[in-house]
């Protein structure tokens, strides 16, 4: 069995309470960082660890932190992306509900490293119970002197605020998240400028995913070299793979980056449910282009997935069986993106809506002979033509489904 890092203690009763967490060497990483290390040393260690963003884009966290100006008269902010809206993804929910203090430790160390005194956790609105758990953990940490003024006598101050979203997938996109946190509609911003220089309230801002930050305490305690060995040289550590769909044991599985996708489905998750046959897999959340059953002998890391024309994304593996018509999958994807397009960019607003209507027509048995070509043309016209990645997130899986399962889909059209 591979060693678990993030999920190691998840089985412990009441791990979310600070007394239990402290018994598991909790907050030792914060003590080490604040009392024995300098901010520059923390940045170096995280850079060396090659910790790539766990939200989906896979950008190296240490490099991202390095973009924030050291000297500035503006306040700097940390925004924790806990929006977790990518269909198929539920790993951050596990981290926050089982081990909220691990996330807080990551937040404290990241903030100390970058010189931040105010952090916001932007959590999706539906996770109300988890937001309350986080608030409880923040109060506990404050009472023990791990948050607030002069943390552990280091002179470093930090406040953390939990901010609930209200049902908008696009707010998981980092600049939409900032807009939403400022009390606006979640409309993504044009980049550049990047949030590291102009972010929340026009100030330098770091935005990191929950799982990314939860890795930080281990990097600080055990070192970058140890972390890299747990994964791949260019892609350190483990990933929490969330497996759902037609498998025997859906759930989260923490495995080294680079673990084979077949192994994740057929060993970790117990294989197909009810002896069904595998048809296709969405390997990294709904935004990831689909893989056919014969394409799953793949190392699950950012570069291998990109090489296979898909993406690791949020490492959410959705398993589809042979009995499910691929049209059902296309319908779910088309419906989702047409609902979640924020409406700011015309190709995405109009394109996703038309695709959804055409797919709906096909599903109603009224598919016309050119419908598949129309969907492909519309998706091609969304791709690369929008401010934020939601456009590509819609277009790429739709294109992959239409192209890889062309024959099956054509069977639904009138001849």
């Amino acid at each position: 069995m591979e060693e678990k890092i993030l999920t190691r203690d998840f089985g412990l009763k009441n791990l979310f309470k600070i007394e239990v967490y402290l018994r598991q060497s909790g907050y030792k990483a914060v003590e080490k960082a604040l009392q024995q290390m300098k901010p520059a040393g923390i940045l170096d260690e995280v850079k060396k660890a090659n910790l790539r963003g766990r939200g989906g884009a896979g950008f190296p966290a240490g490099v991202k932190w390095g973009f924030v100006p050291q000297k500035t008269d503006k306040p700097k902010y940390l925004c924790v992306n806990a929006d977790e809206g990518e269909p198929g993804t539920f790993k951050d929910r596990y981290i926050m509900s089982h081990n909220p203090h691990l996330l807080l430790e990551g937040i404290i160390i990241a903030s100390f490293g970058v010189g931040i005194h105010s952090a916001f956790i932007y959590i999706r609105g539906e996770y109300e119970a988890i937001a309350e758990r986080l608030e409880g953990a923040i109060a506990e940490a404050k009472a023990k002197g791990f948050l607030g003024k002069n943390i552990l006598g280091s002179g470093f101050d930090l406040d953390v605020v939990v901010h609930r979203g209200a049902g908008a997938y696009v707010c998981g996109e980092e600049t939409a998240l900032l807009e939403s946190l400022e009390g606006k509609r979640g409309h993504p911003r044009l980049k550049p400028p990047f949030p590291a220089s102009i972010g929340l309230f026009q100030c330098p801002t770091v935005i990191n995913n929950v799982e990314t930050l939860a890795n930080i305490p281990f990097i600080i305690l055990k070192g970058a070299d140890w972390f890299v060995k747990k994964g791949l040289p260019k892609d350190g550590g483990t990933r929490i793979f969330g497996v759902s769909g037609m498998v025997k044991n859906p759930g989260i599985y923490e495995l080294p980056l680079g673990t084979n996708l077949r192994k994740i489905i057929f060993e970790a998750a117990g294989g197909m449910k009810d002896g069904k046959t595998l048809k296709a897999v969405i390997p990294g959340g709904m935004s990831a282009p689909i893989l056919r059953a014969d394409e799953i002998d793949l190392a699950m890391d950012f570069d291998s997935l990109a090489g296979a024309g898909s993406m690791l994304g949020s490492a959410a593996v959705i398993v589809i069986d042979e009995e499910t018509p691929i049209l059902e999958v296309l319908k779910a994807v088309a419906k989702f993106y047409s609902h979640e397009s924020c409406g700011q960019c015309t190709p995405c607003r109009i394109g996703t809506s038309w695709i959804n209507k055409i797919v709906g027509r096909i599903a109603a048995g009224k598919g016309e002979k050119d419908d598949l070509d129309a969907i492909i043309r519309l998706a091609e016209n969304i791709k690369g033509k929008t401010l934020c990645p939601l456009g590509d997130a819609a277009a790429l899986p739709i294109l992959s489904i239409c192209r890889k399962f062309k024959l099956e889909l054509e069977g639904h059209l009138s001849r």
């Binding site: 306040p75 977790e84 809206g85 990518e86 269909p87 198929g88 993804t89 539920f90 951050d92 929910r93 105010s118 999706r124 609105g125 539906e126 996770y127 109300e128 119970a129 605020v161 901010h163 609930r164 979203g165 209200a166 049902g167 908008a168 997938y169 939403s180 946190l181 400022e182 009390g183 606006k184 509609r185 979640g186 309230f201 969330g242 497996v243 759902s244 769909g245 037609m246 859906p250 759930g251 989260i252 969405i282 709904m286 959410a316 959705i318 398993v319 589809i320 069986d321 499910t324 059902e328 999958v329 779910a332 994807v333 419906k335 989702f336 609902h339 979640e340 924020c342």
Partner: protein
């Protein structure tokens, strides 16, 4: 006449607003708080919130209408929201939705006459390992089958 908002709500709002460097950043949390007390955000609530945050009522509406969780009209006592995304679809949420419609005697987007239940579908709840799943107000229920639906509905009084 504008509705009376409770002192505890006003106090809670003041606490929340104080956490942000700019008042208007508290808009979403304040919308949540007001909706929890009143049930929805209508014209009166827009004015009330705008007054507290020093913004125009239209700004409140602009934001409120963007987010699916902010309601323009109050729903039934129990809002049942069923996930209709992919993992839930694969595991048969379609028949769960049909069963709920039949048991409650309403369609998607409707509320029972006694205003006890409202039924909606929504996009991924982030609980795909428990698919098919739904939310009653903010309580999650997963691994649904007809029997479990019966038990959930029976527990809602």
């Amino acid at each position: 006449m504008s509705p009376e908002y409770s002192e505890s709500l006003r106090q809670r709002i003041a606490e929340v607003v104080a956490r942000y460097p700019r008042k208007e950043a508290a808009l979403l949390p304040v919308l949540h708080l007001v909706q929890r007390e009143v049930g929805s955000i209508s014209l009166e609530e827009e004015k009330f919130i705008a007054g507290i945050l020093d913004i125009k009522p239209m700004k409140v509406r602009e934001v409120a209408t963007f987010y699916t969780m902010i309601l323009r009209q109050a729903l039934g006592k129990y809002h049942i929201q069923v996930c209709s995304n992919l993992s839930c679809t694969l595991l048969g949420v379609g028949s769960i939705i049909d069963y709920l419609k039949e048991k409650l005697g309403i369609g998607i987007g409707e509320t029972t006459l006694d205003r006890k239940f409202s039924l909606s579908t929504l996009e991924c709840l982030g609980a795909c390992e428990q698919a098919p799943c739904l939310m009653v107000n903010f309580d999650y229920h997963g691994n649904l089958d007809k029997e479990k639906i019966d038990r959930i509905l029976a527990s809602l009084t």
